[in-house]
Amino acid sequence: MTSVQDPSLTVPTPRAREPRGSVGLARNLGLVIALVILCVVGVVTAGDRFASTDNLITILRLATVTGIIAVGMTFVITGGGIDLSVGALVALSSVWATTTGTQAMADDIGWVAMVFSAVLVGTVCGAINGLLVAYGRVVPFIATLAMLASARGLAEVIADRKTQIIRNQGFTDFFGAEPLGIPVIVIIFALVTMAGWFLLNRTTFGRRTFAVGGNPEAARLAGIKVQRHTAYLYTLLGTTCGIAAVMLMSRTTTGSSTHGTQLELDVIAAVVIGGTLLSGGRGTIVGTLLGVLIFMTLTNVFTLNNLSTSTQNVAKGVIIVIAVLLQQRIANRKP
């Protein structure tokens, strides 16, 4: 028995356009809601001590280091990599920029010498990470773990495990200034974030970052220089570590080999909470910014309520898990 139904000659009709970016929007909306809830908790538990301009500035000042590195980290993770050495790079950059030698040079030619050396050290170390990962084909986790160990070790050797006080008045004056009530370091944080957003979303560099992270082999076969681009991404992250080191030096007026200890955890957590995929190919600077702010506000609320850092760490862990679970829910909801 053969039963053939009449094959209709209809052309498949194009389906309706899917709203683009709705997933991203929903995710960022979730982050904003989380931030608002956190603020409400802050106001309820700490009242005016939380809801004041001074406190807002405090939160932002504390956010600068994590935030600036998180911008760089967003690029590396979107590009399919990971960098564990960022905290160590901050330490090394801060120590290098505050040695007696560098400070003497700063006294001669100006405080810019300190900024320059911090950024240069961060950039060079980032470039080494990039070369190892891209051309040496060392797994990013291992290459940057090795960098973590050796950079912090080198910082200890240079500083002889002593805290180096910054005596250059020009440096502390410039970065300690608060034009219109906004600290210079917060302004720098804002500028870096905007530059990062622009670079990721409005340039060919950003497009290549998504391509390299999304499918490196396809990107390579489409003529994109994947290795070179990967090296650039780690170098860029190193540069942001150098800038962050300057922020930390200004906040503490010291350079120290213990600066930035376990910073990599906060940075990576903030980026992932912000919706950047650890597997690469998807990432947003706005999400990262929100992730950083959520973390910092949380710390602030806990501190205002006199809760210990240990309690804070427990809460951070819980938040990371919740955020990732929510992310998966949203990701699975798409068709």
């Binding site: 053939v4 899917e18 340039t203 060919t204 396809a218 390579r220 003529g223």
Partner: protein, 512 residues
């Protein structure tokens, strides 16, 4: 042989499966009898994958009934389907590479006493199962990751047998096999059929269905549109008409005008890579299609990838428009006007979770920018135009490319190089995983590209495809060009003769 008189082993009636926004299955009927190879045909998106998942117990059904030996059943989960007697071998074999053959076969139903695995017993049982399948050369203790694709398939089948499966569902089992291995697979399938096992066989390759199939069921748009067709004698034209809902006049479009003379667009001279291939030389003129025929593993893909700079040549040169390319540089090749549609579309060709238009503009990112600033609007517009010119359906450039059918994904890769206006296009298995209807469209596009003056090199395991499309054929065997001539002067048998002659020659040398 089919036994039309026997009672059906498995019967599905009016199966409906609803996903948010899509009715993936919309009235599927399928009747499978013991001891038959029942082929399931349909274009990508016709609902075959969903139906397989329903059979495997991975999806529940919203409407319809499933009868097992006349009794209604429902599968809550894959374990329930396995317990009933239905085993599924997925296209992406779900084996654990790091475990041994025996461990994989008994994965999920390990033989153990008090939680301690009885390794020797499992190894013995695995050896018996493999022997039943005629593959006793596969040692049960071997690590699965070290097996070939064919070997892994045998292990998957042994696993199905270890579950006492009466129905084995095979999803495109031949896609990763070369002709020799396919013969081996068919032998095993034939043995299983003779022992009364029913096979539900899914394949895009009509010639395979003709070889081993007994009966056919055709799906279209989630519904059964034809059933109980004889697999051996139903005319191809009828099958294509039922599957696509339209008639296909000519599968391979012929050249509209004679090939113009001209200097070669691509010229490969003495190209070689130690251990892979050697002394490969050929020219391709603008508008010409050159086909590389040969067995899987003969070195065809390696040659194409080396021409493209994705592998570094150890000898020889590649020239595009007379200028030598820098060795081992994809970037230089792309800038010189080369393009590649890679063999593994998903892993090498696409950024699966990105939008269609961004996949199309992937090779042209730099062209839609000014001082490094990307102009997203222009890029989107140009990519959309390219998508339209190859007729990607649906016409939705923002869609995530993963959701498109294989044929439309392949069209997107073609559109990428169209947008880049490349001069030489290398196509490695351009119709792998592409359904019959879309195949004809891709053939037409390839012809169109050639007519517009692009020089094309095509690699395909489907000899008819290479012969039908190409102007000139190079037969590759064991890493060398063994024949070079016009495609109308040779047929499939001729190609095979050249390949076999090389192998025999080698064997004689081995003896001497």
């Amino acid at each position: 042989m089919a036994h039309p008189t026997t009672a059906p082993l498995l019967e599905m009636r009016g199966i409906v499966k609803q996903f948010p926004g899509v009715r993936a299955l919309d009235g599927v009927d399928l009747v499978v009898r013991a001891g038959e190879v029942h082929c399931l045909l349909g274009q990508n998106g016709a609902g075959k994958s969903t139906l397989i998942k329903v059979l495997a117990g991975a999806h529940g059904v919203d409407e319809g009934t499933i009868l097992w030996q006349g009794e209604p059943v429902s599968f809550a989960d894959p374990q329930a389907a396995l317990a009933t007697g239905i085993a599924t071998i997925y296209q992406e074999l779900d084996l654990v590479d790091g475990l041994s053959v025996a461990d994989n076969i008994f994965l999920g139903h390990e033989r153990a006493r008090g939680g301690v695995a009885r390794r020797a017993e499992m190894n013995r049982a695995a050896r018996d199962l493999l022997a039943t399948l005629g593959h006793s050369e596969i040692r049960p203790t071997r690590e699965v990751g070290s097996l070939s694709a064919a070997g892994k398939q045998i292990v998957s089948m042994a696993r199905a047998l270890s579950r006492n499966a009466r129905v084995i569902v095979m999803d495109e089992p031949s896609a990763v096999l070369d002709p020799d291995e396919v013969d081996g697979l068919f032998r095993v399938v034939g043995d299983l059929r003779a022992s009364g096992t029913a096979i539900v066989y899914i394949s895009h390759r009509l010639e395979e269905i003709r070889r081993i199939g007994d009966r056919l069921t055709v799906l279209k748009d989630g519904a059964t549109v034809a059933s109980d067709l004889p697999a051996k004698d139903t005319p191809t034209s009828e099958l294509i008409t039922v599957m696509t809902g339209r008639t296909v006049s000519s599968v391979f479009p012929r050249r509209s005008a004679p090939l113009p003379d001209g200097s070669p667009a691509l010229s490969v001279d003495g190209l070689g890579r130690t251990g892979e291939f050697a002394g490969v030389s050929f020219d391709v003129r603008p508008g010409e299609i050159v086909g590389l025929a040969g067995l899987v593993g003969a070195g065809r893909s390696e040659i194409v990838e080396t021409v493209y700079g994705a592998r570094r040549a150890t000898s020889g040169t590649v020239r595009v428009g007379g200028r030598a390319l820098r060795n081992g540089s994809v970037d230089a090749a792309v800038r010189a006007g080369l393009g590649l549609c890679p063999e593994e579309r998903k892993s090498q060709g696409l950024i699966l979770d990105d939008a269609v238009y961004r996949n199309i503009s992937l090779a042209s990112i730099g062209r839609f920018s000014r001082f490094g600033l990307s102009t997203d609007g222009a890029e989107r517009q140009a990519a959309h135009d390219a998508a339209r010119s190859v007729d990607i359906r649906p016409d939705a450039p923002e869609r995530i490319i993963r959701t498109l059918s294989g044929g439309n994904q392949q069209k997107a890769v073609l559109a990428r190089w169209l947008l880049r206006s490349c001069k030489v296009l290398l196509l490695d298995e351009p119709t792998r995983g592409v359904d019959v209807g879309s195949r004809a469209e891709i053939y037409a596009l390839i012809r169109q590209l050639a007519d517009s003056g692009v020089a094309l090199v095509i690699v395909s395991s489907d000899i008819d495809e290479v012969l039908g499309l190409s102007d000139r054929i190079l037969v590759i065997a064991e890493g060398a060009v063994v024949h070079d001539g016009p495609s109308d002067a040779i047929d499939a048998h001729g190609v095979l003769d050249h390949i076999l002659a090389t192998h025999e020659h080698d064997q004689q040398e081995d003896v001497a």
